[in-house]
Amino acid sequence: MRSKGPERIAVTAAGVVTPIGQDLDTFWSGLLTGTDGISQIERFPVKDLRVGQGGEIKKLTRAVDWRRVTDCRATRLLVSAADDLCTQAGQRPLDVGPERLGVVVGTALGGVEEGERALSGSPRRLGRALYDAPGHGLARWLGARGPIVTVSTACASGATALGIGAEMLRRGEADAVIAGGYDILCRFVMRGFDSLRSLTRDRVRPFDRRRSGLLLGEAAALLLLKREREAGPRRLGTLLGCGSASDASHIAAPDPQGRGIERAMRAALAEARVDGADIDFVSAHGTATPLNDPIEAAALRRVLGTRAGAVPVNSIKGAFGHAMGAAAALEAILCLLAGRHGQIPATLGLAERDAACDLDCVQGAPRALRPRLSLSTSLGFGGCNAALVIESA
């Protein structure tokens, strides 16, 4: 039961660019129909890697004047998602004064590909290699002159960005905030995960008995946040709570007991003034690594309590891989769209449930359910954990 909490923050629009769709409707339709966004990577060489597939966006298809946008793929993904957001909002430019529009984006990799290009003979790209460069590029395209913030809590970055964006509105620093996350596929990150032997040669199978690792994907996902009392009738839902916690356990692996993600979930629920038993749907991190999924499942069972076995769970990683800094924002959007359309997409790649991941994972076909309250979980390198509680409109 909710008591009076922090000022409610509405999500009035969202925009995405993903391997399964470059607008919100196509993305949602792709999730429902089980579109597979995994393919052989073509944009850069991968022949020397163990695994050369991932969720690659083959061509950016939105009708954007790219001459106005820096030649940086990360920035262009952000602009594509923002262009979709403006379309969804029915406002171009957005109906808010430039000085009152904030931008908060999360990323695991920032402009690192620009660093790769700078070091291989294009030194003018060096300034774009800083991780906060794409966020400023997005702000320029939007004409936003309010606060511009970049966060980098690894693969939990998108959730952290939404929490900071909400706080920015509660403090009156802005009247609207575009918040979310992004990351691109590039040699740097493919080589990195390849060296860790984290990538699967099979398909991504979240919570499946045969899961053998993750694949990476690229995407950007942005949400338009406003104070609820000023948001008007058109909205996707409400961001009720955001929590974070450190594992203090290992530089890369999650805490074996999942205590960090449990603390993050409990913090998000506390801010939302709701209980684990109130949650109707979970958009899980679900990377499909042997280690992550049972740890996350056990933490979810502790938080959801006696209803844990009856709460539907989805992971979008099976559809186009782990979108890193974009993942949490995409998952937040999934929660909102599930509430709007009354359907929970199936987890692509899940066929044989693992008893060690004892959750009600939706598989095979979408399930008819209109969640009111959803929980989204995110974990990342460096012991980063974050969780969101989202209320559907």
Partner: protein
């Protein structure tokens, strides 16, 4: 929002340890050097065998902060301590090494921005709220306001705001963008221990570079570390009145202002 109190400050910089090592004029003190590095802190070689220099600097800054407070590590362990980390470029050396060595033997997770705060969290057992911001001085000021918000809403009892900047391994790259910087590049690691306080904290922004660069004139270019170093510096002379630090980044200037003195303690004698 309610202003947090500064319980203690830890500072290592290319000028030496603590605020007392900071010069009156960075350019003059640099004597022609364009970059001043911090030596790799000497910490347990087994425990930190894979750790990078920037991670060790973060750990050393927190140790210095505890020493300044007269506290042991048990005072900050657990889930009631928040950790907020900021940097503009501490990830640059690891990224470069990974790119140029084509993978090599470097452990990939150390390329993450989160590597520095992760090592700090592991070393001190910090399991509370955890946020990482990227950018120059305004990112650190934002981190201070996030700490204040977490304290105000009761999400933690204390908060560490930590910033680290390293330049040495990428000195040639920074040299190529030299005109963007005022004074010498000065490596640093700085940490504040914040507790619930009184008064009001405000964060204000305006377009353009700041006019008064007095702190930077003394500190040199410390990027994200600048506000924390400026707070360490001001503690030596601060009275009971309002306190403000400024910082510029990407054409914007940010002011962080306490309505009264933020300091709960004076610097401990060396």
């Amino acid at each position: 929002m309610r202003a947090p109190a500064i319980r203690s400050v830890g500072l290592l910089s290319g000028w030496g340890r603590g605020a007392a090592a900071l010069p009156l004029d960075a350019s003059r003190a640099a004597a022609g050097r364009s970059m001043l590095a911090v030596e790799r802190p000497v910490l347990d070689p087994d425990r930190f065998r894979r750790s990078r220099r920037e991670c060790l600097m973060g750990v050393a800054a927190v140790s210095a902060m505890l020493e300044d407070a007269g506290l042991g590590p048990e005072a900050i362990v657990g889930d009631r301590t928040a950790l907020l980390f900021s940097t503009a470029a501490a990830y640059a050396p690891s990224n470069r090494e990974f790119i140029e060595a084509r993978g090599g033997s470097m452990y990939f997770p150390y390329t993450a921005v989160a590597a520095v705060p992760a090592e700090v969290a592991i070393e001190f057992g910090l399991t509370g709220p955890y946020e990482i911001l990227v950018g120059g001085a305004p990112a650190t000021m934002r981190a201070v306001t996030r700490a204040a918000a977490l304290l105000e809403m009761g999400a933690c009892d204390r908060a560490l705001v930590l910033s680290v900047e390293v330049f040495e391994e990428c000195a040639d790259l920074f040299e190529s963008v030299r005109p963007r910087f005022e004074g010498p590049l000065v490596e640093a690691a700085a940490c504040l221990l914040l507790e619930p306080g009184e008064g009001i904290l405000t964060l204000e922004r305006r377009r353009g570079r700041r006019e008064d660069g007095s702190a930077r004139r003394r500190l040199g270019e410390m990027l994200a570390c600048e506000p924390l170093a400026a707070l360490a510096l001001a503690r030596e002379t601060a009275g009971e009145g309002p306190m403000q630090v400024d910082g510029s980044w990407r054409g914007e200037t940010t002011h962080l202002r306490w309505s009264g003195s933020p300091y709960r303690t004076r610097p401990r004698a060396a």
